[in-house]
């Protein structure tokens, strides 16, 4: 039986997190995180290494199910519904596109990389797949570079191209939420700027959570930004305010001004 989503649970927030804590083998990695990500905006997360940014993303699409020793407590709601109440976590993950720090071109052809998600969901017709592949590659600003060699291995592309392939693959899921985890780590600055333009366009269609080690990238893209530090959420503030000295916590100001981290 399908449990209908109750009216009072529906909300304008794509993601709501309440008192989230994450442990690995009993060791606390992130605690006391409460925040809301409004629909259709870019939400930035900044913070130095080991601050719990990646763990936060992993809790949203229930990667804890396949990570030995990872425990999540507190509440995470996606589209108004507690992620633990999605009886089919695979369906939850299909709604959420993920881009990892290092590009992962699956050892399939470029075409098959982008067609994979549709195929997993049962699309078989070549013509339908052709449309999806071309649309997603175009939106990821990769189509012109690869349209003549869709049959070559995705894992043989350059780093920046592979990262755009990963984004195209995530878009092929037709996600409502896109999680990006330091996507520009292995990407040259020119490609980074192109991807940033793509993200700015995508904002009107989906909610984007952008974890980044470049504070200026958060400033360029995010409407609001969260600052994580050593496993805790320091604050969530309007991005412009955060960079104009309006941060609530002096540590945030110190971090965005480059005094540590």
């Amino acid at each position: 039986m399908i449990v209908p989503v109750q009216a009072h649970e529906a909300s304008d927030y794509a993601i709501e997190v309440e008192d989230l804590a994450i442990r690995y083998h009993g060791k606390l990695a992130l605690s006391r995180v409460t925040l809301q990500v409004p629909s259709q905006e870019i939400f930035g997360i900044i913070g130095p290494a080991n601050s719990g940014k990646t763990s936060f993303l992993r809790a949203i699409n229930r990667m804890d199910l396949m990570t030995a020793g990872m425990e999540v407590s507190g509440r995470v709601r996606v589209e108004g519904r507690d992620v633990r109440n999605w009886r089919n976590p695979y369906a939850l993950r299909q709604r959420i596109g993920v881009v990892f720090p290092l590009p992962v071109g699956l050892p399939l052809s470029i075409y098959d990389n982008v067609a994979l998600s549709a195929r997993l969901r049962g699309t078989r017709k070549r013509a339908d797949l052709d449309v999806i592949v071309e649309r997603c590659l175009r939106r990821a600003a990769l189509w012109d570079e690869v349209k003549d060699r869709l049959d070559s291995l995705g894992s043989l592309l350059s780093g920046g191209q592979q990262q755009r392939l990963t984004i195209a693959r995530a878009l092929s899921q037709d996600p409502s939420i896109l999680l990006l985890d330091e996507f520009s780590i292995a990407v040259d600055p020119v490609t980074t700027m192109r991807i940033e333009e793509v993200l700015a366009e995508l904002k009107s269609e989906m909610t984007i959570v952008l974890v980044t080690n470049l504070v200026q990238q958060a400033r360029r893209l995010a409407s609001r930004t969260a600052f994580f530090l050593t496993g805790e959420l320091v604050e969530v503030t309007e991005t412009e305010a955060m960079f104009e000295g309006g941060a609530q916590d002096p540590r945030t100001t110190a971090y965005v001004e480059g005094k540590f981290g």
């Binding site: 699409n61 990667m63 396949m66 030995a68 695979y90 369906a91 939850l92 993950r93 299909q94 709604r95 959420i96 596109g97 993920v98 990892f100 290092l102 992962v104 699956l106 050892p107 399939l108 052809s109 075409y111 994979l116 998600s117 195929r119 997993l120 349209k147 003549d148 060699r149 869709l150 049959d151 070559s152 291995l153 043989l156 990963t166 693959r169 995530a170 899921q173």
Partner: protein, 317 residues
């Protein structure tokens, strides 16, 4: 005045050790080639008398009559022996490929923690069972079982030897196949799972294609194992010369023939040389299997690269 060597010319202990190790390692590498070449030269020399004087291509490959001990008209038709080896190996692969692939996928992709470690140790233990023990199982367990279940007069036949050989080859194939799966980076699995792929979809759509070459190598290794296995086949196949028409026919394998007859021949006789000719044949077939495996694995890689340069129009009909 004694000449003091410049630092750039002084060869210290580390330099000499490095040189010595290089030579030792080179000797190790060369010895493998020397031994293989030596074995080939030996069996060719012993079989040469037969190959050049008595060998009849049509008889050897076309006749099932292997009667080397006949006093007035010895014949050397190896067809039945080749058919025996081929049928047993073929059936063994039908048994072992699904078993070993299934086991490897379970151990590599589904099992976790202690179950996985226990299974790995058990599979490796299975691989260490001596072939004569497998032969014994074929004789004393499979034989009466086959007679009972299928209501046939003899239980030592292709079916028995094929199953025994399949079970025997499965553990080593499992180990190699599991290594091939393990070589697939976890980032691939994570990326696919993050897209909402189920465990089985991840395995089937991403991991298996990525590990394909290693899995083919595992299978061919099993074929080689089946082809060369002697003792278990000798004990379980019935060891009677037959062109098999059903799995319930007893057969005789090439290897078993050499093992059973070599001790009773006079060195240098036609019979002795004929057995070595069987050996040459086995050697060539094994070589061909390994070579095919190599070509396949390399060919697969090249194909991908070549496809990469072809325009999409011709590659996407």
């Amino acid at each position: 005045m004694p000449e003091v060597a410049h630092a750039a010319d002084r060869r210290d202990a580390a330099w000499w050790i490095d040189r010595a190790v290089q030579i030792l390692v080179l000797a190790g590498g060369l010895s493998a080639i020397v031994f293989i070449a030596g074995i080939f030269v030996f069996i060719t020399r012993e079989g040469a008398g037969f190959v050049f004087d008595r060998f009849d291509f049509r008889e050897f490959f076309g006749s099932p009559r292997w009667t080397p001990t006949s006093s007035h008209n010895p014949t050397y038709g190896a067809l039945a022996l080749i058919a025996g080896t081929a049928s047993v190996t073929g059936l063994a692969m039908l048994v072992s490929v699904p078993f070993s692939l299934g086991a490897a996928i379970y151990i590599g992709e589904f099992a976790t923690g202690r179950v996985r470690e226990t299974l790995k140790v058990l599979v490796e233990l299975l691989a260490a069972i001596p072939s004569v023990v497998w032969g014994f199982i074929g004789l004393s367990i499979m034989n009466p079982l086959i007679i009972q279940v299928f209501d046939v007069p003899v239980g030592l036949n292709v079916l028995n030897a094929g199953i025994i050989l399949g079970l025997m080859a499965a553990p080593i194939m499992t180990t190699i196949a599991e290594d091939a799966l393990k070589a697939v980076p976890d980032t691939y699995r994570e990326a696919a799972e993050a897209m909402g792929a189920t465990r089985w979809q991840v395995t089937f759509k991403v991991v298996l294609p990525a590990a394909r070459n290693g899995l083919v190598a595992a299978t061919l290794l099993g074929v080689g194992r089946g082809f060369g296995e002697t003792m278990a086949v000798l004990m379980a196949s019935g060891h009677s010369i037959n062109l098999p028409t059903s799995p319930f026919d007893s057969v005789r394998a090439l290897t078993a023939t050499i093992a059973a007859e070599l001790g009773e021949t006079a060195a240098g006789s036609d019979h002795y040389a004929a057995l070595f000719t069987l050996g040459i044949f086995l050697f060539l077939v094994t070589f061909a299997i390994n070579f095919a495996a190599d070509v396949f694995v390399r060919g697969g890689q090249r194909k991908h690269r070549r496809r990469g340069r072809r325009p999409a129009a011709s590659a996407n009909p």
